[in-house]
Symmetry: C2
Subunit: 266 residues, 2 copies
């Protein structure tokens, strides 16, 4: 990966698929900031979490992707969002990207949903390799108008390209479903505590065998002010720094006092 | 989910599949501690990360599972490890479990591998719902001898059943590939910083089209003493408390100083 130009290289991925409106809005919103390259799943990959494909081969093919300034180098991958970024960084990019962005996801990736998010997992792959990365989500279930989100994405991307990011951290950005003029600002937040109160609808197939379909109600367990959920509800863009160290540091000391800890055999 | 007995209910899941030797060892190791119930994928689900199945139905069927004390109530699920625990907790359990365990995974789930781990994701689903949960992994790639791991699992499970767990936290337990007598003890650890130096082998199919196969070399970036990697290398059982809050708290203040943060529009 030799540097052939001084223009920043920005890799764009997502989990909604390469033909989703959100990725076109994101690539378009970043137009002119550098060389743009797109690598995204050929099929929708929502809720795949941080899945990677190891038992099967991954395929990629060139994809006709058109940005506002003309054709964009783009690859459609038969694989997960994490696969897309891994493959792009290893095989497809002409040089090491300066920034990896993922989105614009249709639907929030706030609170516990971060765990299931393919959008965030794509950004995580880059951050593990030390490349600044940002996941963008538009907080409306279903396809929305990404004009405001694309402007916000550009604003944040410019800042990151110019000023860098804390090491190993990615930004998880959630944008309220509002016109740009009504968005109140940008806030740093933490991930809200929450859960899904789930239910499975049990149904019978034509052969009278049961199958189950997941549904659920989202429950916010967090009354804190500085959470991703609250920021979006208040009309702010939520920016949560995310780290792939899952250690519960606060619990470490508690565990150390357990009587099963320590050396065996005397 | 009414309480019909005072015996603890222990739900056992994994990601290697319901017929993997590790889950039989785990269920056997916990024999007698309470009522055991097994719910695990019908097919191997390694590296699925925290995937959940939303676009397709999930199916479950009763599975003939035999523990040391006789038949065990068991379900094989066509789905991911997270699906198994969600479905079990919602539809299959006779009452709320007192403990959810996952494993014994064949292969370590230390360092960055935690992100990709189906074993850990199964335990995470329970911890989100406030049920104590533990993921067990045996640090040998490929099938090993789980006798020592099963004894360790029993020891830790007894402690958790008796003393509980810090709220919202799960335990990620990695056990060295050693005979029980040679294991030096149990240590609390943090997740090591690490990455995979990946490569994709590019091959041609019979139609001369390229496909890629992921491979890689694990790189430890962490020279700290109290990491999961170091503990296992030193012959200790590694116990890392894991939280599903991914916020990079140390980076929050740094971000707050960014000049793009704050209110828009004056």
């Amino acid at each position: 990966m030799t540097k052939v130009t001084d223009r920043p290289l920005i890799l764009v991925a997502n989990d909604d698929g390469i033909d989703a409106p959100g990725i076109l809005s994101l690539a378009s919103g970043l137009d002119g900031l550098g060389d743009i390259m797109v690598c995204a799943p050929i099929e929708e990959q929502s809720a795949v979490g941080h899945a990677i494909t190891m038992r099967d081969p991954v395929r990629a093919r060139a994809w006709p992707f058109r940005g506002p300034s003309g054709p964009v180098d783009a690859w459609a991958v038969k694989g997960t969002p994490a696969d897309c970024v891994k493959l792009a960084l290893n095989k497809l990019v002409p040089r090491r990207p300066d920034l990896v962005v993922s989105g614009i996801n249709h639907g929030p990736n706030t609170a516990v949903n971060v765990l299931y998010s393919g959008t965030v997992s794509a950004a995580t792959e880059a951050s593990i390799l030390g490349i600044p990365s940002i996941a963008f989500s538009h907080c409306k279930w279903g396809i929305g108008d990404y004009e405001a989100s694309a402007r916000i994405a550009r604003k944040i991307a410019i800042h990151v390209l110019e000023s860098g990011m804390p090491a190993g951290v990615l930004l998880n950005v959630n944008i309220p479903d509002l016109p740009y003029e009504e968005i109140r600002g940008i806030m740093t937040t933490r991930q809200a505590r929450s859960m899904w109160e789930e239910s499975f609808s049990e149904r019978k197939d034509p052969f009278d065998k049961s199958y189950y379909w997941l549904s659920g109600t989202f429950v916010n367990l967090d009354s804190g002010k500085n959470t991703d959920l609250q920021a979006v509800e208040d009309g702010y863009v939520s920016v949560t720094p995310i780290l792939h160290d899952l250690t519960a540091y606060a619990a470490l000391r508690d565990l150390e006092s357990w009587d099963i800890m320590g050396a065996f055999h005397g």
